[in-house]
Every structure is written in structure tokens, then in C-alpha cells.
Amino acid sequence: SSSSTSSGSPGGGSSSTGVAAGGTLQDLYTAAKQEGKVVVWGGEDPQELQGAFAEFSKTYPGLKLEMTAVNPDEQASKLATAQAAGQTLPDIIQGRREFMPTLVQAKLINSDPGWAGYQVPSNVVSADGGLVEYKSVYVLAYNTNVVKDTSTLPATWDDLNNPQWKGKLSVDPRGFPFNVLAVSKGASATVDYVKSLKSTTSPAIIKGSTAGLVKLAAGAQAVRPAVLEDVKTQQGKGAPIGLKVPTPVLVQDTLWYLTSGAKDKAAAMLFAIWYTSANGGQLLTAKQDNRTNQLPAEANTGTVVSYDTADKAAIVASVTPQIASVLGGS
């Protein structure tokens, strides 16, 4: 689990075969019923996605969901793999912007499915053709038993780079959230920052949010960057974890993308639109996972940094491996 950022951007124009360039959702539903099913590679908890689909089916009955659980950060590789082997691709996948340029280039992703024609709010439509599913805010989670005085917690991400946290910090080897920080800080400054952070605090490198938070809750470390919704989930179980939102507020988006040759395009679009609409799927995810495609109240502490343009995504894409190699992760 993990994840993501930022604000919407205006949707693109045209369309492709089979589905009209625009119309009402009912038109889309009519076309979808012809297709009968939608094939999804989701990063969701499969049980929850099934639940969401059941909810979807109340409004748009008669469709079938074929779902495979694939983590957002594995989507790109799995998709490329499947395509390389000539396998039928899914209609719709969950992904993040930094992986898209390559996939678009490889003609795997439909960068302009024509969302606008179906009245999708522009803040949900991303420039690269995705629909923002949810926004993840990076927070600093801390163990409330270890950190008794919350005033010692850093107010900014830069403050984290403090000998005070030596041996008490854990980070994910894959480089977030610092890769998002690069958008405001600049790539090389960020890499230097991570290097310094590493030598100052000798962080424990724990891959995966779950493992990291388990150890945090157990008191193995005092602080760890994590996404807001995961922290809330742990808090819900009574784990002794608190959270602080350092500035700048780092946000990462997770989006639905249509694949280029989607066979069930109408059904896929309909499902994605429903899922990202405020009175559709968003109601459900807000309740189940504490996440929506609107910024949560916790993000109000300062400047929001996200990567919603191609340029910014490119920065994130290029800095991620550098940070990862500093941290020794993959």
C-alpha cells in the first residue's frame, strides 16, 4: 500500500473507436452493457474493490468485474510484461504519474480517452489522461510512547535532518516522500538532503508501509514518514501512533488510466468516472480507507507540493532512483 498527490488539470479532447466522443453517462452505460464486463488491475484491497463494484452495480447493474490485484508501483512493469508477452491487457489500471511517460510512449496507455465529453470535473482529470482516484498526504508518523513531547517533532521536512532522530527514524527504501519534495526543492538539492539525512540519522530502511508502521508501533523507531490514510488505519486499531504534517505538504496522486486498446472502453470509463465522482465511489473510499481525491483537512498546514504536470512528474521520475540508491533500496 502507499501513495500519492496533487491537484487536477483539464482533460484532453478526442476519443477512440467504439465510444462516442461525448454524451451522458447513460449513453456510456448503454455502450457498457454491450461490452458486459470490465477488466481491472487494481491496487485496492480486492475485497474492497469488490465492495465498491457491488455499489456501482446498484446504479449500473448488469456488468461483470474481472479484477487482479496489482500494486500501483508494479502496474507499469506488469503491464509492460503482459504486453511484451502478447497477453490481453486490462481495460483500466491504477497507476502514478511518474511511470506514465514510458507507458504512453510504449502506446500502452490512452493519454486522452475523452473524459471531458462526459462532464468529468476538470480537477479530477489529469493532463496525462488519468482520473485522480485519491490523493495521499505524506505525514510523519510517530510512536506516542516514545515521543512524549510533540513539540520536538519537526515542523518541516528539512528539520527531520537532525541528530535528535539518530537511530529513531525509519524510511522506505523506494524514496518517497522525498522524491515529491524534489518538485519544490530541486532534484540535486533533494538528493543531497537525503544523503545528509542518512548520515545524520542512520535510518532503518524498512520496505513497505505495513512493516514500517508495525515496527513504529512496537517502538523500534520513533518516527517514520507515511501516508495519512495508513496512519489513520493503524490509529483506528488503537496503535500508539500519532501524526504530524511537516511542510511543505507532500501529496501524491493515484489515478485510473485507460489502456490503449481497452476492449471494454465504455464500461471502463463508466466505472472510473463513477469511482472518482464525489457522490459515487468517493463516498465509499472515504469511509473505508480515509481517502478521497480531495485534499484532506490535514493538508492545510502549508504549501502543497505535488506533481500534476508532465514536467514535475519527470522530476519525480528521475529523482526516485537516485534517492533509492542513496537509501540502498531498490
Binding site: S1, D45, P46, Q47, E66, M67, T68, A69, N71, D73, E74, A76, S77, A80, T81, A82, Q83, A84, A85, G86, Q87, E98, F99, T102, A106, G167, S170, P173, R174, G175, A204, I205, I206, K207, G208, S209, T210, A211, L213, V214, K215, A217, A218, G219, A220, D230, T233, Q234, K237, G238, A239, P240, A317, T320, P321, A324, S325, G328, G329, S330
Partner: protein
């Protein structure tokens, strides 16, 4: 003058001929090539051999091919990919690999030393002495075979965490020890020792027969010369066990060299990297796209390194069979009567091992599964224990289906793998055909390919089959079964070869003379007689299929979810409690299967 005087020489010559005839006839496998000596060509066995070769060849070809494939997306078979040695030059010029390689050398040698010495010690204590509760200890010590390695890694990570690890917390009860430490879960030493522990169950299974069957007479002969204990051990007992031990050593060398889970789960935290985690890094690149080419090139190199001692291994087992012939039939197993105090010491030692290495990780799992969130086990939190996770697991309607999938996967894969293994062993031992040896080598090779890499290769193969041959395996149980069969072939073949090697060939010939066809002979004679080893092979394959996460996760689609995938998913979505519960359920199933099969095997063994 009578010719009588010169006869002894003539006789001796005749006799030498027999000695070598005996060698050829009994020694069996590997050594003698020997022409298709029998016509009644049991095509079923040949088919099994060919199947083995085919099963292994497919992913192997993909592996080698893609290690030479260079493409913009880092993927083989994509438009724009071409063949080049670039991946290899990348590997050789990658300076960051030096440290992991050095670590790997330490890790492999260290974990082998730990694992094999413990196994050898335990084998001697459990097989040759009058230690109490030997049977129970044996069952407990091999139980961890059934625990998914990742789960074991997580449990050990929690046990050895320098701050809050239970072991460390307890160690700090000793005066003068303070936090952090004394143990650090992420240090090279820790991952080495933990990997060593994880090597023990299977090593014990392999070493025990070696220790058990070393001829008593040969040892007694040393007794009678008046040689002291140490001289006997050094000059007679160990050299005699050497071939058997060497084969275990080489097998486990490969296991350790490609071991991934422990270094990944424990080592990464501390920045300790080994070769296999470096391979993994290339597969899960942070750029989002995997560098299959480089990863596969590294895997090929690892495989080559693993193959070198395999050559030695084959020569070794060939020789060890010759040893076995000489030891003859009428040996008595000498029980070492431990004197009172040593018996107690040994008992406490084994008990400590079982508690620390076997039971503690299981307890951690149990603890995790009964706590809403993880905290270091303590009496105060005991009151918060809840079985909610188990209720949750069983209340999900799809779980029973998933469980059934898992059991079917385990049972079918184990049965197929054991069946192929029996036929392969038969080819190797009875027909001594090249096919038998090739199949044996191939079965072993799978063991030398890191699990992730094998998984990906299989994935490619299946996808390729889907797109080019219209055989759609991806996402089906069939693919998972095939995958598990492939990864367990090496183990099962080793075990059945040892077992069938002990059945005198005449028993099968006798059935042949009765007019029984090949399958009847295998079914009614060979398998029942080799029942203990076939049962062992089956249960190991079963436990392996159940607990293997790497392959299931890579190959899983919507149609073939297993408990292991469920576990992985639950963990990924932060549901630690359920994940632990699932881990425990898997372990319990496998342990039960192990205990049932082993007691069945023991009963069989007692019967003849």
C-alpha cells in the same frame, strides 16, 4: 606337479572381476553410462524424464534468452529489443556489486556452517544416541519447513530488533547488557545465523539418513584397533560420511546462494545487501520498469556458480554409492549411550534450540495474530488478546475457496512432483540412461534459479504460450501447479533417488518376470517399498507449495488466489493481524501434513 599351487592367483583375478561387477550392478547410478540396456522401454518413465527436461527448459530458455536481450523498456520480447551482451557487461562493470558479492560469500559460508553443524549435531543426537524424546524433537525441528520464509523473516525481524526485539529484551535481563542490542536483526551476522537456522530442517532431513546408515561395522572395526574417540571421528567416521555430507552441503550451498527472503526482510533494514537482493532490486526498480535483462544476467551467473559444485556433487554421490555397497548388509546401528550428565546437557541443548529457534517465531506469529496492533510480547498485553483475526478470516465467504485452492495446489503439485521424481529416479537408477541423468541435472537446476527470477521466467513462458500457442495458463491453477512442480522437482528427486536406491533392483525384476507391466511394477512394488521416502518427498513438496510466496505472488491472477497470496495482500494493506493468522494457519496445515506423513513413513519403515 599339481596346479593347485597356482590357483589362488587365478581365483583372485576372477574375484576382482566380481568386485567390479558388484560395483556396476549395485553401485548404480550416475557412474555407469550404459547404453539403452533394456528394451521394454517404459515410455512412461522416459516421458517423465522428458517432461522434467521440458518443464525446466522453458523457463530456463526464457531466462537465458532475456539475459541477452536489450530493450528500451528493459523487457525481453518487446519491439525494439535485440540480443547483446550489454546486460553482462553492465553486471561486470557495476562497482556497487562488489560489496554484495563479498557479503554473499560470508553469508553463504556462514549460514552453511551454522545450518549444517547444527543439523549434523542434531542428527547425531537424534539418530545415534539415547537422548529422550527423540521422535518429538525430530518432528518439531523439521516443522519450520512449512513456514513461509518471508513470514519467518518478519518474525525473526521482530525477535531480533535491536530496540524492542523479544530476544534482545530478554537478553537485557542479564546484567551489563543495555539497549540497543545485543543483537541486531539487520546485521550480516544476524541474517547469516537466521538463514542458517532456516537451513536446519531440510538439512536435518538429508543428513539424518547419512548419519543413520554409516556402517556400524566400520566404526566398530575402528574401536577394535584401540583408536581413541577423536581419531575414530576424524579418520574413520567423518571421511565415511563425507560423500553424504558433501551432497547435503552442495545442495544447501545453492539454497543459501539464492536465498532471498531473509536478506531482503532483515538485511535491507541495515543496508546489508547480498547478491540475490541485488537481483531483486533490478526486478523492482524504482523507475517503475524492471531491468529483466540485467536481473536475468545476474541469475545466469549465479546459476553457473551453482552448477560448478554440482559437477562435484554428482561425482560425490557416485562415489558415495560405492561406499554404500562396501558397508554390506549386516550392520548393527551402534547407539551411543550418553553418560547421565551429558544426556541431560544434550537434552537441555536440544530443548533450548527447539524453544528458541522453532517455537519463538511461531509464538511471535501467534502473538501478532491475536493483538490488534503489534507490540513486543508482554504479560500486560496478554489481556488484549483476541481471536478476531481468525473470525475475520473464516467469515470472508471466499476464504474457503481460497483455502481449497491452496490445498488442491499443494496436494496436486506434491503428487505430480513426487510421481515425476519417482520416475526420474527410476530412470536414473535402473535404466542408467542419459535421459535419467539429464533429467536429474535439470531437476536440480531449478533449485539454482532464484525464486523471483524463476517466477518471472515462468510468467513470460506462460504468457508467451498464451499469445503464440493459444494455451492460456496465466492466472490459472494449472500454471501455479506447474510452477510448484518445477521448483520442488529438485528436492523430491533427491529424496526419491535415495529411497529407491535402497530397493534392490531384483525386487522389480521379479515383478517383471511375473509379467507385471511397467506401471504395475512402479505402483505395486517400487512405490510401496519406497513409501517412506516417497512420503517424505510428497510432504516436503506440499509444505513448500503451501508456503511459497514468491512464485504464487508472481504467478497469481484472479483465478488462482491462494492463502499465501491472501497473506501477502493482507500484509500489504496493513492488516498485520490477519496476515499473521494466515501465516499460522499455513504453518499448522503443513506441520500436520508433515507429522502425519512422517508417522506413516515411520510405520512403514518399522514394517520392513
Amino acid at each position: 606337479m599339481s596346479l593347485r599351487e597356482t590357483e589362488p592367483m587365478a581365483l583372485d583375478r576372477a574375484d576382482i572381476a566380481t568386485a567390479s561387477a558388484g560395483d556396476a550392478a549395485v553401485t548404480t547410478p550416475v557412474v555407469t553410462a550404459a547404453s539403452g540396456r533394456r528394451f521394454a522401454r517404459p515410455s512412461v518413465a522416459s516421458a517423465a524424464g522428458l517432461l522434467t527436461v521440458a518443464l525446466v527448459t522453458a523457463p530456463l530458455l526464457v531466462l537465458v534468452w532475456s539475459s541477452f536481450s536489450v530493450s528500451p523498456l528493459g523487457l525481453p520480447f518487446t519491439p525494439g529489443s535485440h540480443l547483446a551482451v550489454k546486460n553482462y557487461t553492465d553486471v561486470f562493470t557495476d562497482g556497487t556489486l562488489v560489496k554484495p558479492i563479498l557479503n554473499t560469500v560470508f553469508f553463504v559460508i556462514g549460514s552453511l556452517a551454522v545450518g549444517l553443524l547444527i543439523s549434523l549435531g542434531l542428527a547425531v543426537l537424534l539418530e545415534r544416541t539415547n537422548l529422550p524424546l527423540r521422535g518429538l524433537f525430530f518432528a518439531l525441528i523439521i516443522a519450520p519447513v512449512a513456514m513461509p520464509q518471508v513470514v519467518a523473516g518478519i518474525a525473526w525481524g521482530l525477535l531480533l530488533d535491536p530496540q524492542v526485539g523479544l530476544v534482545n529484551v530478554m537478553a537485557r535481563w542479564l546484567p551489563g547488557v543495555s539497549a540497543p542490542g545485543p543483537f541486531n536483526s539487520g546485521s550480516l551476522a544476524s541474517i547469516t545465523v537466521v538463514q542458517g537456522f532456516l537451513l536446519v530442517p531440510f538439512s536435518l532431513l538429508l543428513v539424518a539418513p547419512v548419519v543413520r546408515s554409516t556402517s556400524g561395522a566400520l566404526e566398530e572395526a575402528a574401536h577394535m584397533t584401540g583408536a581413541r574417540r577423536l581419531a575414530r571421528l576424524r579418520e574413520v567416521v567423518l571421511p565415511l560420511m563425507a560423500p553424504g555430507l558433501a551432497s547435503v552441503l552442495i545442495y544447501q550451498f545453492v539454497t543459501a546462494a539464492q536465498a532471498f527472503d531473509i536478506p531482503a526482510v532483515l538485511g535491507l533494514e541495515n543496508g546489508t545487501k547480498v547478491f540475490s537482493t541485488s537481483i531483486y532490486k533490478n526486478l523492482n526498480s524504482s523507475s517503475g520498469l524492471p531491468h529483466y535483462g540485467v536481473a536475468n544476467a545476474m541469475s545466469v551467473l549465479l546459476l553457473v556458480v551453482a552448477l560448478i559444485p554440482m559437477y562435484w556433487y554428482y561425482r560425490m554421490i557416485a562415489r558415495s554409492e560405492r561406499y554404500a555397497v562396501v558397508t554390506g548388509k549386516s550392520y548393527r546401528r551402534r547407539t551411543i549411550e550418553l553418560p547421565g550428565i551429558w544426556r541431560t546437557v544434550a537434552f537441555l541443548g536440544v530443548l533450548a534450540y527447539v524453544v528458541l529457534v522453532v517455537l519463538l517465531p511461531l509464538l511471535i506469529l501467534l502473538w501478532m495474530s491475536t493483538q490488534k496492533y503489534y507490540s513486543t510480547p508482554s504479560v500486560s498485553r496478554l489481556g488484549d488478546a483476541t481471536l478476531a483475526a481468525y473470525r475475520r478470516v473464516f467469515s470472508v465467504s471466499t476464504f474457503i475457496g481460497t483455502l481449497r485452492n491452496t490445498l488442491v495446489l499443494g496436494a496436486v503439485a506434491a503428487s505430480i512432483a513426487s510421481a515425476i521424481a519417482v520416475l526420474n529416479s527410476w530412470l536414473l537408477l535402473r535404466r542408467r540412461s542419459w535421459l535419467g541423468r539429464v533429467a536429474d541435472v535439470f531437476a536440480f537446476i531449478t533449485h539454482g534459479i532464484p525464486g523471483v527470477v524463476l517466477g518471472v521466467s515462468l510468467l513470460f513462458s506462460s504468457l508467451y504460450l498464451g499469445s503464440h500457442a493459444g494455451i492460456h495458463l496465466y492466472g490459472t491453477m494449472t500454471l501455479l501447479v506447474i510452477g510448484m512442480v518445477i521448483v520442488t522437482l529438485g528436492v523430491t528427486t533427491r529424496i526419491t533417488t535415495a529411497g529407491i536406491g535402497q530397493i534392490h533392483r531384483n525386487l522389480e525384476d521379479a515383478a517383471e518376470m511375473c509379467g507385471a507391466g511397467f506401471l504395475s511394477r512402479i505402483r505395486r512394488i517400487t512405490v510401496p517399498l519406497a513409501a517412506p521416502s516417497v512420503a517424505n518427498a510428497w510432504v516436503l513438496a506440499f509444505a513448500y507449495a503451501l508456503s511459497n510466496l514468491t512464485l504464487t505472488v508472481v504467478l497469481a491472477g484472479s483465478g488462482n488466489r491462494t492463502v499465501a497470496v491472501e497473506l501477502y495482500t493482507r500484509w500489504n494493506f496493513g492488516d498485520v493481524q490477519t496476515a499473521a493468522a494466515l501465516g499460522l494457519i499455513l504453518t499448522v496445515i503443513s506441520v500436520t501434513a508433515t507429522v502425519v506423513a512422517r508417522s506413516y513413513a515411520a510405520r512403514k519403515e518399522a514394517r520392513h
